[in-house]
């Protein structure tokens, strides 16, 4: 399975600031290897974040998102919220990580 993501979530004034750093090569399908063959596209395509079981963010990425994707968003929440982040990539590989809002 893929490497874990880093999820940092802090609450202030009723708003939770979530920063996620995923580990993924995010091959765009534009690059060629040393032999001149195209390296096939391989990238995280969907990301879902739930807090306390409810969707708080959904993202769809194309091949143009940078390697080791970074995402920052904010939602109305509270300290102690349990966050579950799931991503699925173009090969069908999946990764789930959890975090608690500080």
């Amino acid at each position: 399975m893929a490497d874990p993501m880093r999820v940092r979530a802090t609450e202030s004034g009723g708003v939770v600031d979530v920063k996620i750093l995923m580990k993924h090569d995010m091959e765009s399908g534009q690059r060629k290897d040393a032999a001149g063959k195209v390296i096939p596209a391989w990238f995280i395509s969907t990301l879902n974040v739930k807090a306390q079981g409810n969707d708080v963010f959904n993202a769809q990425f194309g091949p143009a998102v940078s390697k080791d994707p970074f995402l920052n968003f904010k939602y109305k929440g509270a300290k102690g919220d349990k966050l579950v982040v799931i991503w699925i990539d173009s090969k069908g590989d999946k990764r789930t990580d959890e975090a608690t809002v500080a």
Binding site: V15, V65, Y75
Partner: protein, 149 residues
């Protein structure tokens, strides 16, 4: 073919179509919008997303004037509008649509991420509010292209 089998096939086809259209469970992430991500031009993507966006001062695109490294360009969108969707488009990239975001109720219409840019290009921040797409754009100069070419 007997009637029962025909019905099962009919319902599963409808079910499948509904799932593909995202009608079944709004709570789940929508299926990856393949058509939009394969759009090769701004107009292509606008058409697939629904409509050509209007320029709006209520949409803010946060992006550098000059990106030192085209492989990692920080880009953000924020807006004063009640947006339920946001998107980042890069006019000159081989795949114009970089990312698409869905904002549930209770989440702020704000996002920051990092994208690859192949060359200097206009970058567009799109926001969907009240069923309408609005946008803001700026040119981001790229000194070292981000597609490995």
């Amino acid at each position: 073919m007997n009637k029962q089998r025909r019905d099962v096939l009919k319902y599963s086809a409808v079910f499948g179509m509904m799932a593909a259209a995202g009608l079944i469970s709004e709570a789940q992430a929508q299926a990856w919008n393949k058509a939009a991500f394969e759009g090769k031009s701004l107009d292509d993507v606008f058409k697939i997303l629904g409509s050509a966006p209007e320029k709006s001062g209520a949409v803010t695109l946060n992006a550098p004037d000059i990106a030192e490294n085209g492989a990692v360009v920080p880009v953000g969108i924020s807006t004063t509008l009640k947006a339920d969707q946001m998107a980042i488009l890069v006019e000159k990239n081989p795949s114009t649509l970089a990312a698409l975001f869905f904002v549930p109720a209770g989440t702020e219409p704000f996002v920051t991420t990092r994208i690859k840019m192949g060359q200097t290009s206009n970058v567009y921040a799109l926001v969907k509010a009240d069923g309408k797409w609005l946008m803001s754009s700026k040119e981001v100069k790229v000194t070292l292209g981000g597609c490995g070419g």
